[in-house]
Amino acid sequence: MFRSEKLVRITIGVPEQFISAATGVLASFRLLHLIRIDETHLGRLGYAAENDGPLLQGYQDFFEEIESLLRSLDLRPDGLMTEGSVNPEKEIFQIRERLDQFKLEMGSGLSDLTAAESEFGEKKALLERFGLLPEDFDLSRLSHLALVNWVIGLAPSSGLDKLEESLSAVHHALVELNKLEDRTVIIVFGLKRDWPIFERALKGALLDPLPIPSNLPGTVAEILPGLQSDMADLEGKKRGLNAQREVFRDRFGRELIWLRERIIKIRQILSARRLFGKVDKSYLISGWIPERRWASLQGELSRATEGQAILEKVDPEDLREVRQGIVGIPILFNNPLLVSPFEKLTSLYGTPHYREVEPTVFFALSFLVLFGLMFGDVGQGGVLFLLGYLVFRRVYRFTDYGIILMECGVSSMVFGFLYGTVFGLETILPALWFRPLEHIQYLVKVSLILGTALVSLGLALNLINALRLKEREKLFSGSGLAGALLYWMSMGLALKVLLTGKIAAGEWKLLLWVAAALLAIMILHRPVYRLAVRKRSPGGISKPAGLMTELLESIVETFDDLLRFTANTLSFIRVAAFALAHAALFIAVFSIANVVSHGPGRGISYWLVVALGNAIIILLEGLVVSIQVVRLEYYEFFGKFFRGGGKRFRPFGGDNDAATK
């Protein structure tokens, strides 16, 4: 959980006749990160396999044909699973026959429907284009101009002054007709004899011309009803054809989706072959798999290839390329179900290095605690939970975010109980811990203690990372063990002062002496280390700077690191500030409700204001608090230890598969 899944590098040798079966097994296995054979010594020796280009293209053509049929039938592929062995060389003929049969049975019905839809689409686009023009704009008057040319189009608004300047040497008129986001609909007039200049200028201004027929009589306001009536006629025609589409959809839809999924799988397998190696009549496949799945993969491959596949497993530590840092090991996150959605947020910051601590668990836990502290309310937490549940159930693409929202809801509810607040009402529940507005100082102390804990955790993880990555020299730096010791000691004493209000003279003296010693280590370690390396192996240090320069650099860095510790810890005061803002917003909402209804709890207007206020708090403050939590996590926590620079595990056969792209 605290480190990514342990991976091993495997190499599989498969006789040519079993390659389809073996690739099928690997695609279904979904836990193999393929390595391009040309990135290994075999690839460099020229043992790279080649794609069967025409076969892959054949499947691509059928895929596009099926996509077009599915679009015509208005069917959305729903990820139907296809099981069974795959034989790309044979199956292409079966797919071709089935598709020919479908087209024969559908006859002209589908093409009529497609034609009607296309005509409808064109009219709709024309209608939209006319919608961009002023209503009194009469295009027919422009069709008879003898000496003047014109063009209507969309140009980026920020470039209009440049367009004006580029046309300043010739007679021209540039009229702005409308705005569309950050583009402007313009009409440009110019003399026909100067038109080549206009074409060059408009090309430079990235004008996107709007194809509008000028032969339609009347103003835009007069043309629009005619176009709308044409569209209504087409709509009627489409309705008739739609009934036929329903019949086709029932008869062929499911099989078409199945064929589409089948082609995707076959394409994955064919595309993957370009990553394989080939020696005589055997394919070589190389990649990373989780060590714990090694035995099961062995068994499955052995069954699929009648025992003729040869598998070899190598521990990453035994690979010279890995030791030298030439080849990176991908990261396969290995977190429990409730934590794994947070991997997305970790990845937004960066992908951890294989050997460093995988911080998602710490991220998830601290995220939820910080969120709850700032947004504690039983009622609002419940609403967040329900919203998250809706996202989780309804929006497949954002399932992970749905889970995060549900967890934030639960955290908010827990802190709501601790604060004793339900939709801002503090009279319903007793506070199991304290009420933020009544104990402001205490809340600030809690935030600072939490900040100290999180910064300390970051420092501890940094030490673990330094040891794992063998960066021993960094242990003596301001961001390493020396800095951490100084921070912990200072924070310990600060905590004592915070809780007891006093500090013994001996403790103060000890702190000063230890701080001086640690500072000396932090400042001197780098020049000393570089001097030692230089003595041991001259040239081991690039361009040795003078001792004073290195010392100066070291002093600046040390003080920067120490200042950062303080700033990072103080930054957590925002947790208290936002928790107070959350409570204060409720006061504002209830005050407005009182004013509107002339007294607390009176009438529907009172509760309407309270409901509306709660909705605004959930939306606005929820968003702001989330941003603040992410900010604290990224800058104050991750910034302490996260190295990054790793690469994500991309399972062959999965959604994020590199082979098919």
Partner: protein
């Protein structure tokens, strides 16, 4: 003022330390005298660039690879300064860095256009590492230009690229997308200055303004006199935010055909700095040398402002680009002395002045 001093005291110390690591006049003196590419590489191995050149052997190294490796030094400095600089200032530095992100996107676009595989394109990219959050692996794996643009949807590149797309389709060449990618970061850079105010803002505006003037002049010369584009088209590819060159000035400069007229149209002090130009090719390096002088001058005034790290990063960039030019010249057997006039670094006689 006091808050500014507190905010920028650390960064100014860091910047000055980094500036101390720039190549010295002595280094430039010897670099001008190199007799071959291997000598050049050997010399750089004795400088601050050594860690970035450790993987290259003298016999197999190519100027292109060396250039990318030298840029890693620049990106290292960006990473160091971005960590320390206050957020508002960081927006400006990130704006400068976006140019390299855009360059990488352009390289991928060209690769797609020439149907190159990702393994062929990958070594040509600037190694931005954690400095860029773009999904590079996904971008490298797309096969169509449209798919690449779609992948950029959440970024500031998407809309401008979409607006350029009809012209790309109409012209059947990458130029509209490439020029868009060139312009987006610089327009963003000009816009990012709005977040800075007071002395901090004025200093940065003057510096970035002069930098943008330089880009506008270089682009005008390139588009009009190397690529043969019309004045009308070239004007549309100019950038906002210049210090001394207004859109009207750029219009006039685009329309003149001869070099003397071009120099005549330039406002002072640019006219004076560029007056020694005899060929169009000298305009850009002369302007860059002027900029380098300005960048050095930034270190003489009030140091507690974003102007200082910005100036340093631009200085380091110019140094890397000048080394890149030297490397390319040496690779094809040219003597550095012959191309000194085309290098955008103030080399005079035997040392930088």
């Amino acid at each position: 003022m006091i808050t500014r001093v507190f905010r920028y005291s650390n960064i100014q110390a860091r910047t000055r330390t980094l500036k101390g690591k720039l190549l010295s006049p002595e280094d430039w003196h010897y670099l001008q005298k190199m007799r071959g590419f291997d000598e050049f590489l050997r010399y750089l191995r004795g400088t601050e660039y050594a860690p970035f050149l450790s993987g290259f052997s003298d016999s197999t190294a190519e100027a292109g690879q060396i250039s990318l490796a030298l840029h890693n030094a620049l990106f290292g400095d960006y990473a160091k300064l971005l960590k320390a600089v206050p957020e508002k200032g960081a927006i400006l530095l990130r704006g400068l860095l976006l140019r390299y992100e855009a360059e990488n996107i352009k390289t991928i676009l060209r690769g797609i256009w020439q149907t190159k595989s990702d393994t062929e394109i990958r070594p040509l990219l600037y190694r931005l590492g954690a400095l860029s959050r773009l999904p590079w692996e996904d971008l490298l794996n797309v096969c169509r230009v449209k798919d690449l643009v779609d992948l950029l949807k959440p970024t500031l590149y998407y809309r401008p690229l979409m607006y350029a797309f009809p012209q790309f389709e109409a012209q059947g060449r990458l130029f509209p997308l490439e020029i868009t990618l060139d312009m987006v970061p610089l327009e963003h850079l000009a816009a990012s200055l709005k977040s800075l105010n007071g002395l901090n803002g004025r200093g940065a505006k003057a510096l970035v303004g002069e930098f943008i003037d330089g880009v506008n002049v270089a682009w005008l010369v390139r588009f009009r006199h190397y690529y043969g584009l019309s004045a009308e088209e070239a004007i549309n590819y100019s950038l906002p935010g210049g210090l001394r060159l207004s859109l009207r000035d750029l219009g006039r400069l685009a329309r003149v055909s001869g070099l003397p007229d071009f120099l005549e149209e330039l406002p002072e002090p640019y006219r004076m700095s560029l007056s020694s130009a005899q060929r169009w090719q000298q305009i850009q390096p002369l302007f860059q040398r002027r900029l380098v002088d300005e960048l050095y001058r930034s270190f003489q005034g009030d140091p507690f402002q974003i102007r200082l790290p910005t100036a340093y990063l631009l200085l380091r960039e110019r140094e890397v680009k000048s080394l890149e030019s030297l490397a390319s010249a040496l690779e094809i057997g040219e003597s550095p002395n012959e191309i000194v006039s085309l290098i955008g670094w103030p080399l005079r006689g035997n040392a930088r002045v």
